[in-house]
């Protein structure tokens, strides 16, 4: 029972990340018709917003102490964190909460990156075949990750969650179960955060006039254009929003997975499977498939399951994708006519 509950929680936080990335992917596909292979790189860029913010907060003053030497005989550098000496307790608070606070930095940065990406490159490929779009966005992803590697190196850079949520929660006590069932606080927070982000995107599309126009454009771009609405401009903003969603998913994931330049690629393939299983262009499908596949992947990793089907944890996502596409060729919630021409 404990093991099942733990794997369910595991699947939910993993599924939260898949759903957030897939949501942005399918939003771009549904509006712009672009298969964006650089979307994983946006997730990675978001994570590095947290790294940059952390580094800014940890800028040090360096003084040379001639009385001490390094093991190789040069004078010792004495480093002190600047922000903490300047702001005292508030500085220490900022450093402790650097990951959640960096969301404030990440939103405008990711929005700008998204808009530049769409206006500068991707719009030139709207009328080109999907293969061209995949090639150019994949190339862009490699360029972005090489830039990050140049400045930050290849090794993962640890980011700590705030001290107050750095440990584990006793889920057993919360649910009134016997025994301790520990689960990291930050993963629970990530799950809740992913639900909030998903809800915000749906609310934006469902309850605002802007969102209504975007949804109309997703259905029939030409008619919306004939009504005198500059749908392209709106879709550019949508691309920016998708970049922000991916970026925020990346920011909040840093205490779970120390970010490195390649983390986007690691999530990209899985997110595409999520989008395809959910149905190309279907927002609800992406969310549903994200959580479904996350949970299935977790359960497939259980020792009891692997003893019956060795190696099932490695293939479960792809196996389910094949089964769903065989029975529901448009995915779980795919619309007729999308990517069928």
């Amino acid at each position: 029972m404990d093991a099942l509950l733990l794997q369910l929680l595991n699947g939910l936080d993993k599924g939260g990340a898949y759903a957030l990335i897939a949501l942005g992917l399918t939003l771009v596909f549904g509006t712009l018709g672009v298969v964006n292979f650089a979307h994983g790189a946006l997730f990675m860029m978001g994570a590095f917003c947290a790294v940059v913010f952390d580094r800014l907060l940890n800028v040090e003053t360096v003084t040379i102490d001639e009385t001490q030497t390094t093991p190789w005989g040069t004078p010792m550098e004495i480093r002190e964190p600047y922000i903490q000496s300047l702001l005292g307790d508030f500085g220490a608070f900022l450093v402790d909460y650097s990951v959640p606070i960096s969301i404030i930095l990440a939103i405008p940065i990711m929005l700008i990156i998204g808009v530049i990406m769409e206006r500068g490159l991707i719009r030139h490929f709207y009328s080109r075949p999907h293969a061209d779009q995949i090639l150019v966005t994949f190339g862009l992803a490699i360029v972005l990750q090489e830039i990050i590697k140049h400045f930050f190196g290849a090794n993962p850079i640890p980011q700590a969650a705030p001290d107050v949520v750095n440990g584990s929660a006793d889920i057993g006590a919360m649910l009134g179960l016997d025994g301790i069932i520990a689960y990291p606080w930050w993963r629970l927070i990530y799950f809740v955060f992913s639900l909030l982000c998903i809800a915000a995107v749906f609310a934006f599309l469902q309850f605002t006039t802007y969102g209504m126009v975007v949804r109309a454009g997703m259905r029939d771009r030409e008619t919306v254009g004939l009504l005198g609405i500059d749908i392209e401009k709106r879709f550019t903003v949508v691309f920016g929003i998708a970049a922000v969603v991916a970026g925020l998913a990346g920011v909040m994931y840093t205490p779970i997975l120390p970010p490195d330049y390649h983390m986007g690629m690691d999530f990209l393939v899985l997110s595409f499977v999520v989008v395809v299983v959910g149905g190309m262009g279907s927002l609800g499908g992406a969310v549903l498939a994200g959580f479904l596949l996350g949970i299935l992947q977790s359960f497939a990793s259980m020792t009891e399951v692997k003893s019956i089907f060795p190696g099932i944890d490695q293939i479960i996502i792809y196996l389910v994708a094949v089964l769903i596409l065989l029975t529901l060729p448009r995915g779980l919630m795919g619309r007729r006519g999308v990517m069928e021409d």
């Binding site: 005989g73 290849a154 993963r187 779970i256 120390p258 977790s298 020792t303 490695q314």
Partner: protein, 450 residues
């Protein structure tokens, strides 16, 4: 028309004179007969080319960059472009005169292994065929090392492996042309087993998470054998895919397995992620079977320890070398490296440096670049002063035998280069084993013409 007459006496005289005329000059030219012994890419001009095959992209690019720094330093020393302080304690320092190797200036070509076996082989092949490399060195994965070593055996080029820890490299996949200075999983197990028993007691149950490739398998086997010899039990050993990223689904079953020790047979990014996540899941605060739960990382990398941050505190593991070792060879190398690059060398840099120096020294001792004779000079070579204490390049499997370090994550590191402290130096005799236990065949030392 005159008639040519050739008497028997005249024929014998002419034959003898011709023989003397043709043979005599060779007696006055040193090594003229040795020149008949040609092996792949033996230098004919004034330069000799070495091939540095390191990960310049991919997850181990930082290790690769540090290896390249060490190679550059070794080349500068060999050519006399920088002073030889770094090898001042080396027992073979007298053989290296700062005039290249055997009087030929050392140049080099580099390749990018990408930490992929096929890319590493292709890169090594290019360095041999297009770059004219007489020796290949580098790498930061056992899969890569075994693949490149096999190619070097086929091409007759000596391979001085850098970071490779699998038993297979000098075990079942050993090659006559391949040499490993780094220690291996068996040695880690032997060194760590007794320390773990002393530290955590003899009644423990371990759960292994193992990277699913050659290095992970041999490390799991070695650590299991070593800990079970100490009385520990093994609850389960679970294979995880290389580069899994999120290990949470593999960590949660540990919580209910009854195990009180988690052994992470992971390296690099996998180690950073699995260790960070194990700590987040509260494993280190957990009590099982009335004992504090422990996490063990049998192979540490300082560069990767930086990625794990505070999660590394108190964790026991092993290392091939550490810049804080208190011996003349380490001090000389660390000072020279620190002065040149402003940071201490990693163990990757140290093994890369040692391998280059040892190859140059072997050529000087052999008096030739001819591969079979350089191999013979390396086999059974006992040396000291490169930082690891007295070291033997065992002839039977081309594995270096030297002391092994048991290290532990520091509770209060001064900076990012001071994350590990040396808990114990396990003497070489305690980690030496019978070469036959891992099987394999070195194969022939026949010279090849590329």
């Amino acid at each position: 028309m005159s008639k040519l007459t050739l008497s028997r006496r005249r024929l014998l005289k002419a034959g003898a004179a011709t023989g003397v005329a043709l043979g005599a000059p060779l007696h006055f030219v040193k090594g003229a007969y040795a020149q008949d012994k040609m092996s792949c890419n033996m230098p004919t001009g004034s330069e000799v080319v070495l091939g540095f095959n390191v990960p310049q992209s991919g997850p181990y690019a930082d290790e690769g960059a540090d290896e390249l720094r060490a190679y550059q330093m070794a080349v500068d020393i060999l050519n006399g472009d920088s002073d030889a302080d770094a090898i001042s304690a080396f027992s073979g320092a007298g053989n290296l005169k700062g005039n290249g190797i055997l009087g030929k200036k050392v140049t080099y070509v580099t390749g990018d292994t990408q930490t992929k076996s096929d890319a590493a082989r292709a890169s090594a092949q290019k360095m041999i065929e297009d770059g004219g490399a007489i020796m290949i060195t580098g790498g930061s994965s056992s899969g890569v090392a075994i693949a490149v070593q096999s190619l070097c055996q086929e091409r007759g080029v000596i391979f001085m492996a850098a970071l490779t820890h699998s038993n297979d490299t000098t075990g079942k996949d050993k090659k006559r042309y391949g040499f490993r200075h780094f220690f291996n999983a068996y040695m880690s197990g032997e060194a760590l087993g007794s320390v773990l028993a002393e530290e955590y007691g003899k009644e423990r149950t371990a759960y292994h998470l193992t990277a699913d490739y050659t290095w992970g398998w041999t490390q799991e086997e070695s650590i299991k054998n070593a800990t079970e010899k100490q009385g520990w039990q093994t609850a389960q050993a679970v294979r995880t895919p290389l580069g899994a990223g999120d290990f949470s689904q593999y960590i949660t079953p540990v919580l209910n397995s009854g195990a009180d020790v988690l052994v992470l047979n992971h390296y690099g990014k996998d180690m950073v992620n699995s260790l960070t996540q194990a700590v987040q899941f509260g494993l280190r605060e957990k009590q099982v079977n009335g004992k504090d739960f422990q996490v063990v990382v049998p192979l540490f990398s300082e560069l990767m320890a930086q990625g794990a941050g505070s999660a590394i505190k108190g964790i026991l593991g092993t290392a091939n070398w550490d810049w804080k070792l208190n011996n003349a060879g380490t001090k000389a190398f660390t000072q020279a490296f620190g002065k040149k690059y402003g940071q201490p060398p990693s163990q990757a840099a140290q093994t890369a440096f040692a391998q280059t120096i040892l190859y140059a020294d072997a050529c000087e001792r052999a008096g030739t670049f001819y591969a079979p004779e350089v191999i013979a000079a390396l086999e059974g070579y006992e040396h000291d002063g490169l930082g690891n204490g007295p070291t033997l390049y065992r002839a039977e499997d081309h594995q270096c035998f030297k002391d092994v370090l048991v290290v532990q994550g520091k509770d209060d590191p001064k900076d990012k280069f001071d994350l590990l402290e040396i808990r114990k130096i396990v003497p070489r005799d305690e980690v030496t084993y019978d070469p036959s236990i891992f099987g394999g065949d070195l194969g022939p030392a026949d010279a090849k013409q590329c």
